[in-house]
Symmetry: D2
Subunit: 341 residues, 4 copies
């Protein structure tokens, strides 16, 4: 093996650059050439690549985003694109590929492996919901950003005796809401894994008020849902990013429902894209670096078709196919958070 291609796919995530740097530096140790593929699988289909040298990765360790760009293109959806991808892999002389991404990105890697092209996957999901690995990089940074936001909202909630609702990322799993909720001292945490009862939530908030606490913080994952939509703002609507109406904005729906039931002034904040940007935490930089190093070591050892994963305090290879299921929040951890309501 002489030349390794590397790409980053899906949503951006703090730590991607640390992975890229680690792959390049480790590959150079073994005298491999590294080719950066731009914008995920799209780049290999369209032939947008560039050599990555030590100079290319100087100073990128603390930077958010990805110097390679990213996209959600999945070439398997078109026979033509699949062929173009295979042609370009040959054309650019890529002997192996390191694919960094989530379910979708890694499913293409799995397919390439089945076609006998050497690949190694590196898991990436800011939501921490990929099975097989204890933690994914970027997650700690997102939790840190959300915790900082909760700290800030606390002072306003306290000064105005308000209920503050904070909607955070987590479409299918509530890891960010749970971890940041515990770290920030949230008074209710609502996640997709556990459909919530609006009356229970309000009951909890009222009891808190009766204990003399004049404010409350509610953290809700974007994918959380009420167990029963009856009487829960079913007629309400929300505009999407571009003004199109749609049902949704669970944070706003929740804020309205709480205000109707409790009467306390309620304010809603939707953190959005700031959760996935900016410099990674030290923790994520180390994790991302370890993933990058281990991935190249797998290629060097001829151990293809695997994904590197964190298990305990070790980075280990697991079959790429194990990366598909969604990992739910540990119920014990979620239950523990209730002690602090």
């Amino acid at each position: 093996m002489k030349t390794i291609g590397i790409l980053t796919g899906g949503g951006d995530c703090p730590g991607l650059n640390a992975v890229i740097r680690a792959v390049v530096k480790t590959a150079h140790l073994y005298d491999y050439t590294v080719i950066g593929i731009r914008n995920g699988w799209k780049g290999i289909v369209e032939g947008e690549v560039e050599p990555l040298t030590e100079f290319s990765v100087t100073g990128i360790l603390p930077k958010g985003g990805t110097i390679l760009g990213t996209s959600r293109t999945n070439p398997l959806k078109s026979e033509e694109q699949t062929q173009q991808m295979l042609t370009n892999i040959r054309k650019f002389g890529l002997d192996a590929i390191v694919a960094v991404g989530g379910d979708d990105t890694l499913s293409v890697a799995t397919r390439l492996h089945q076609m006998h092209i050497p690949v190694v996957g590196i898991p990436k999901t800011i939501d921490n919901d990929l099975s097989g690995t204890d933690y994914t990089f970027g997650f700690d940074t997102a939790v840190a950003i959300v915790t900082d936001a909760i700290d800030r909202l606390h002072t306003t909630a306290e000064s105005h005796h308000r209920i503050m609702v904070l909607e955070v990322m987590g479409r299918h799993a509530g890891w960010i809401a749970t971890m940041a909720g515990i770290a920030g001292g949230a008074d209710q945490i609502l996640i997709p894994e556990v459909p919530f009862d609006i009356e229970d939530v309000c009951e909890g908030l009222k009891k808190r008020r009766e204990r003399g606490k004049k404010f409350s913080i509610v953290v809700i994952a974007e994918g959380a849902k009420p167990a029963d939509m009856t009487g829960f703002a079913t007629t309400s609507s929300k505009v999407d990013d571009f003004g199109h109406e749609q049902l949704g904005g669970i944070g706003h729906l929740l804020g309205r429902a709480i205000e109707e039931r409790i009467g306390s002034e309620t304010r809603v904040t939707v953190l959005g894209h700031v959760q996935r940007g900016g410099s990674p935490t030290a923790h994520d930089r180390v994790l991302a670096t370890r993933y990058g190093v281990k991935a190249v070591e797998q290629l060097h050892e001829g151990n293809y078709g695997v994904m590197v994963a964190l298990q305990g305090d070790k980075i280990v290879p697991i079959p790429l196919s194990d990366a598909i299921t969604q990992k739910k929040v540990d119920p014990e951890l979620y239950e523990m958070a209730r002690i602090f309501y």
Copy 2:
């Protein structure tokens, strides 16, 4: 004079606790007693007060919010409340009052001054739009938070080749948008003072793309408006915090308008309440402290009916009545920002 009452009114703002601490410490230097009035003017109407000792203000300097609580109650709107206020001022033996707040809070102070009750005002507006003073505390902190958000959005914008729209505070003046826009390197800054032309904005973004820049950041103050609403999403709507539909969310309207015209993927973030919470910057702590010290010195010198203000690098007293007009963004500064588009 023996006893000073202090209250904080209006929206909370980083630095309020630094003001309270400075007032208490300076008052003690002159052997005055300090009484904290809870929740703005509401507290004096309802008789909710507490003595403030050195112990009360220990450790509050770096804390956001206000230990006194705040409200938007204006007792002048009811004759009964006005009388109750005057009665309680006598009842609690308040010889003078330090009122910390914006237009509305200070208008009550002005009225009290006319009734020959010794008052001194301390200006508070996170938007920095109070005339008479160069800067208000809390503003620097808000600018820092927004700048940090722009830094984070940059990495996502760059990785995904997107246009990111960031809606920030500023209903009547665009200080936060302008300052943070310059500090964060925004590619368009839209403020209430200068109605924008959506075609011009998109023209600017397109030219930037033609120069090889694959992403852009647009910062828009919540009070910014298009010069011409024609063809600008007039039929669109937005739900408010509690699901009620309303026209608005200028950030979302703008995002939609840009995407329609340019075709680049556009994402909108509305920062919301995190902008006014959390620990004040060093700059704001110093400014708030200086205001608090100067306010008590005015009372000590018998100089009533004034507001303390920053002019150049000095804190000076100005008539309370000068605090009413809204201060607009310096056009020269706003023009300068265009150099970086």
Copy 3:
């Protein structure tokens, strides 16, 4: 069991307040009373205690330090103090004790357990060098602070083409140096576990310079030592905190040795106490909270004489006696860091 005493001993550490809050909240869930013992074991000897209510622990989650105070007093060193401790445990009606601390603090807990007093230990060492547990709280915060310092030093090193030496905590183990060194992109990392050869270090720095890198960052743990002191500034000396001369300041010795051998301008920074102060990271707040909850659960279940420990992603009880050995840096992790030199 009705009443639980809690104390924090040894050096302060971000997350101690999160532990205290978690112990109090969990104890209240089971209807236990909690008594705070001031200043470590000293407080129980001298009878300085106070009840801890929900009110006592409000708002302390994000705060550094410990509201209980701490000390290094070890009552086992004096028969009189040991007796006084036992007397006061009875006097204050303490049915069980939660001891938060390192080797020394926990050795007293172990002795109490042998005397049939119900105790549970919570491990605390900012250096992460306690065996039995994967990670200790406070460590992630220290690594974050050191990484931030490395990021800052990078800009100066780069602008001035200098070698910057950063001395960090770690008397017996180099965890902080290793983790922060990887996260910050250090060009040499020196730790107590691996005696260093000054010539090798300089050789590495020279090679880096020959590759066109005009600056370098060297991170050294305070307990790191050269394999051979010959020719290594043996005559040098350093004043301690109060001006008394002593051999030492390995950071300064190293800086001098490098400058003598390489000729590049070298600057030394000793981070000191800022590494252990301030608000804990979200990661540490969660870990500390989980420890606190689990400790009370052990008491509730009658599982005495144990220490709670993180293993993988679970908190588990282990025998207090397992907490004694010092945990060294994982050699694989340390070796990995060399890839980036």
Copy 4:
């Protein structure tokens, strides 16, 4: 005029890159070419220059340090170097020079102006001690870093009932110590402008302890001196960065003197180079940007031999020769800090 040279001299400082970016972008607006001179005046003597394009300055706004490098070389000290400088200015076709630096760097600019070479100066001193301008960029960032350190030390001081001494930058003026001391709530602030009496300092700390405050924070500028060295550790010594003994380390001397007099455990931290590194605050980015824009405008208007300066909220040109004196801390501000001891 067609081509502008720009250089950064002296110690690095957060905001230098913001200045460089502003100069390049503004120059391009007027269709000037910009040449970057590497490593201060050294670069023009040695002929190390590079063209600066829009691409060169992309993404540097939030970065600390200077992409141009810096040095303390003063070519006026050698006739040969002076000639070489003049030759290279002609050789590279520089029609004007923007010099960013302190006293020393600007003195060369002044000399060039006298030789009829068009120059404009931009003041740079992290210590804020340059007269003619209200504030210099980098200063706000340094104050923010020191304030953060004080916040961190507070938690340790409080938990251990200690006195913490923090030595900060400020050889000739105590601006950083004063501002950060006020922002961090220091209990004593010692600066070069006001020689201190060690007995007075200790008297203040003792009184504080008698009021029930069990800890204290003392901030001292590196250039602060006792009024009377008698009995003040004259025999003590300190090793410099490379192990050479020298009198000094006022922080360590002070710590020892306090401990001898008060008996409280005292710890000393010397912050060092981290104070001048890393990403500039929003405030400094705006100030640096305004300086850069204004400097090019002066060149464009043919207004040579000036330095741009902040006066009130305006950037104005002042004669380069006015930049020489050292600006001392405002006595009123310093006195105000005593209220909080």
